[in-house]
């Protein structure tokens, strides 16, 4: 009788919540990851600056939509011009679509002419799950005080069609300009769209 109970308890612990959602308007969870060059990057190091997080999987057609059209690169450039930090994070697990080693990630950034502040590798998916990143792309904007101000999709056209980039509302750029103007972010949460993040397991 007892072993059954213990087994049941063990199973209950094993399937416990893996995803932790970050609350909009609350301090965002800190993290530390290695970048494509093997250097550690810590979120709290950027205190005082706005930080954009972008979940990335170069093999995902929805990510390609925004890179092949140059939309993501121009958003990165615009954010950096405003003094923001842009961290691209890859939570793909080894063996799954979009997983990259450091040199592969550097090659991708160079080939795509992307300009993130850093390209971070999260092969175990710890940060991705800590932020409940569900899709690629999935975007987060954190203000200088470390408070999460936006989470969701990159824009309001949930397709893989490059033609839809034009005329879409880019939620990240909109949030950044509202924050710069000292206004509350009008669209603070949206449904992210894209491929599911290819976590381990």
């Amino acid at each position: 009788m007892r072993p059954i109970v213990f087994a049941a308890l063990a199973a209950a612990v094993a399937v416990g919540p893996a995803m932790a959602q970050q609350q909009t308007g609350q301090p965002a969870g800190n993290f530390r990851l290695m970048d494509a060059n093997g250097k550690p990057v810590t979120l709290s190091d950027f205190k005082g600056r706005t930080v954009v997080l972008e979940w990335n999987n170069p093999g995902c057609p929805y990510v390609k939509k925004h890179y092949d059209s140059g939309n993501m690169q121009s958003a990165q450039a615009a954010a950096k011009r405003q003094g923001a930090v842009w961290l691209t994070i890859n939570s793909g697990a080894p063996g799954k679509q979009g997983y990259m080693t450091g040199p592969e990630a550097r090659a991708f950034v160079a080939q795509a002419k992307a300009q993130p502040t850093a390209y971070l590798l999260d092969p175990e998916g710890r940060v991705g799950k800590g932020y409940a990143a569900k899709t690629t792309p999935h975007m987060y904007v954190i203000d200088g005080r470390g408070v999460l101000r936006y989470q969701g999709g990159i824009d309001d056209k949930p397709t893989a069609d490059q033609a839809d980039v034009k005329g879409a509302r880019n939620h990240v750029l909109a949030a950044l300009s509202e924050m710069r103007a000292g206004k509350p972010v009008s669209v603070a949460e949206t449904r992210p769209y894209g491929c599911s993040v290819k976590y381990a397991g």
């Binding site: 995803m19 592969e104 893989a160 491929c195 290819k198 976590y199």
Partner: protein, 674 residues
């Protein structure tokens, strides 16, 4: 490394090309019209037949945590319009903690296309559509496009029987409209929903697929309870986003079946686990007190008492010092309470497991009743002295170890011969919050251990213990009487629930168990082993339960007399000039059941119908019969309940309101024919 880079670059370059090439799609999609010759002014159903490659899946309208819905771009002739894309009941696919609402096997979607009136027969209607959809494996995702075309010609709208059968087969994969509105409430980060669903309607593994975001956490498990004529669903609320004002979705009920429903905010009768704190705790306290009393009573049960008195006597005889006695008493108590807690935890684990897999504890399941019946009969036979539950050797041994083992044994042995008390505790465990349920089991154990605890701490009591003897046997025989009565009650319940053949079956199983136990008893008296006979009894119990005839589809006693609806029957009755009342119902339709009990099957209504020679036809749409579905749809109702009154001489039926009263029906029957 270089190979990996090459692979990556190849994927980057090749994938978009692959995605566009029609021959290399991962989902083969075909456009099939139900008829190529639709009538002008009518509608024709177009089917999108999708066949994924093995390992690939397409998405429901709401893809869950990821995924994208299918979009259609139509090119239609002037005046022809296409309705929304309809989705069949989806299935779940949890990948690394992300929930996907998908189709992993071939699936079919429908679009109804309306053909304008006034087109000349023979007019060509070329239909073109481009479908954009997402298709994934657990590793990669590819958005695909399919350009599909078909040519319709305006004709008579006739549908070939083979095509009709094919479409009707597909129609069964779509959710049926539930008809009644559900309620939902979000509190303490929990989402709760109450769905009207008759207590006796069949239900497999239930799961609610919401169409909207912001209502539930898709990946969280859903707990499903049946509470009378309600289905209660509880899960984690979405952490992000605000709950929509109205939630639409599909309640899947297992085997690919499901119901489309709408839920509005409103009070949800909370599940027992969430019963308001005070009430729950006073209830738990009461249950605990009752459990302690019940446990106390268990001590004089014939199968426990000998163990207890043996132990007590050994304690008294040994003339043990006070410390040893106390130590043994505590060890015994620990043994009893731990085993009781273990039993309780096992039942709770079963309950949790059951909810997680959607296996609602169906206390109304005849199989459960058969098991209980066989168990009660076995206990009654034991009390009647037919056989003994063997007692292991270590009972007489001294020391705390022996005392602990004796306590544990007492609790185990008490389990079978205390059916009513354990039954009550079991019932409590099924409805109380886990902590309170465990308290009940601990109370039971504490009560059971109490006399020995007292004996250990109050030496004077040890000498006053009644001596085991013939009186115990007599007492035991007397206790058999309530057991036999319980068995009688269970047999009656079984008959009520599942009919005559089930009761015969259940009693037959109990009889066979009796034979096995009689054999065991006979061997026991000759001092032989009984394991085989006991196992046979257990196997018979389970076998009997599994094969018990299931309840026949619920039929109202009066409704059973109503003739099944067919259009031919309707036509012939109308030709006779009789008024006809046709009602359309389903086992899962609560409003239907309420109307049947409250109006249609009232004797006042039936008498009036009989005296006015009103013919009553019943259409049972429980299994979603397509033929019947089409008839129902023609009367502007998407589903059941539907009530039609055909007055003699009137060309078309009157559609009655969805809430009936006996007065409405008797008034209709009493109308003067004009």
């Amino acid at each position: 490394m270089i190979r990996a880079l090459l692979c990556l670059l190849l994927t980057l370059i090749a994938a978009p090309v692959l995605a566009q090439a029609p021959g290399d799609r991962h989902v083969a999609m075909e456009l099939v019209p139900e008829t190529a010759r639709p009538a002008a002014g009518g509608t024709v159903t177009l089917a999108f037949v999708s066949t994924p490659e093995p390992g690939w899946h397409g998405y429901w309208k709401n893809g869950g945590d990821a995924g994208v819905e299918t979009t259609l771009k139509w090119s239609l002739p002037q005046g022809v319009t296409a309705g929304p894309l309809q989705y069949p009941v989806p299935s779940r696919l949890l990948v690394s903690g992300l929930m996907n609402y998908v189709y992993e096997r071939p699936w079919v979607q429908f679009v109804d296309v309306a053909v304008p009136a006034g087109l000349a027969p023979g007019s060509k209607l070329p239909v073109q559509v481009q479908a954009d959809y997402l298709v994934c494996t657990v590793e990669i995702c590819v958005p695909e496009k399919a350009s599909l075309r078909t040519e319709l010609t305006v004709g008579d709208g006739a549908i070939e029987p083979a095509t009709r059968a094919r479409f009707d087969g597909w129609r069964r994969t779509f959710p049926k409209p539930l008809g009644s509105e559900a309620r939902f409430a979000v509190a303490d980060k929990r989402f709760r929903m109450a769905v009207p669903f008759p207590a006796d309607a069949a239900l497999g593994e239930a799961y609610f697929f919401p169409l909207q975001q912001g209502a539930i956490d898709f990946a969280a498990p859903q707990k499903v309870w049946r509470s009378g004529d309600r289905l209660l669903i509880e899960t984690a609320a979405a952490a992000v986003g605000t709950p929509p004002g109205v939630i639409e979705g599909v309640l899947a009920t297992g085997e690919g079946q499901g119901f489309a429903l709408t839920a509005k905010p409103g009070p949800v009768a909370v599940a027992a686990e969430q019963a308001s704190g005070d009430a729950a705790w006073s209830g738990a306290l009461l249950a605990f007190g009752g459990a302690v009393l019940g446990g106390l009573l268990l001590n004089i049960m014939p199968c426990v008492f000998p163990i207890l008195s043996l132990k007590a006597l050994s304690l008294a005889r040994s003339g043990a010092d006070a410390r040893t006695a106390r130590g043994e008493a505590l060890a015994y108590t620990a043994g009893v309470v731990l085993v009781c807690l273990g039993l309780g935890a096992a039942i709770l684990a079963l309950r949790a497991g059951g909810s997680a897999v959607g296996w609602a504890f169906q206390l109304q399941d005849p199989r459960v009743i058969v098991v209980l019946l066989a168990l009660t009969v076995a206990i009654a036979l034991n009390l009647s002295g037919l056989f003994e539950v063997p007692t292991p050797q270590f009972v007489g041994h001294g020391g705390s170890g022996g005392a602990f083992a004796t306590g544990a044994l007492a609790a185990f042995v008490a389990t079978p011969c205390t059916g009513p008390f354990m039954g009550a505790a079991l019932g409590a465990a099924l409805v109380l919050p886990p902590a309170a349920a465990l308290a009940v089991f601990a109370g039971l154990g504490l009560g059971l251990a109490l006399p020995f605890l007292l004996l250990g701490f109050v030496p004077a009591l040890r000498n006053r213990l009644p001596k085991p003897g013939a009186w115990m046997e007599r007492f035991r025989r007397i206790l058999a009487i309530p057991m036999w009565l319980t068995a009688l009650a269970l047999a009656w319940l079984l008959g009520e629930m599942a009919g005559n053949s089930a009761i015969t079956w259940g009693l037959g199983a109990a009889l066979l168990v009796g034979f096995a136990l009689w054999f065991a008893g006979a061997r026991q008296r000759r001092g032989r082993g009984v394991a085989l006979a006991m196992s046979a009894a257990a196997a018979l119990t389970i076998g009997g339960a599994l094969t018990v005839p299931r309840a026949a589809p619920a039929q109202e006693t009066v409704a059973g007399a109503d003739e099944p609806f067919t259009e031919a029957k309707l036509a012939s009755l109308r030709a006779e000039g009789r008024p006809v009342f046709a009602y359309f119902t389903a086992d899962w339709c609560l409003t239907c059941k309420v109307n049947e009990a409250g109006a249609i099957n009232r004797s006042a209504v039936r008498d009036e119908f009989a005296s006015k020679k009103v013919a009553v036809l019943v259409g049972d749409w429980t299994d979603g019969d397509a033929e019947l579905g089409r008839f129902i749809e023609r009367h502007n109702r998407a589903g059941v309940p539907l009530y039609l009154w055909y007055a003699p001489g009137e060309a078309s039926p009157r559609v009655l309101p969805q809430v009936l009263t006996p007065a409405t029906l008797t008034a209709l029957a009493g109308e003067r024919r004009g």
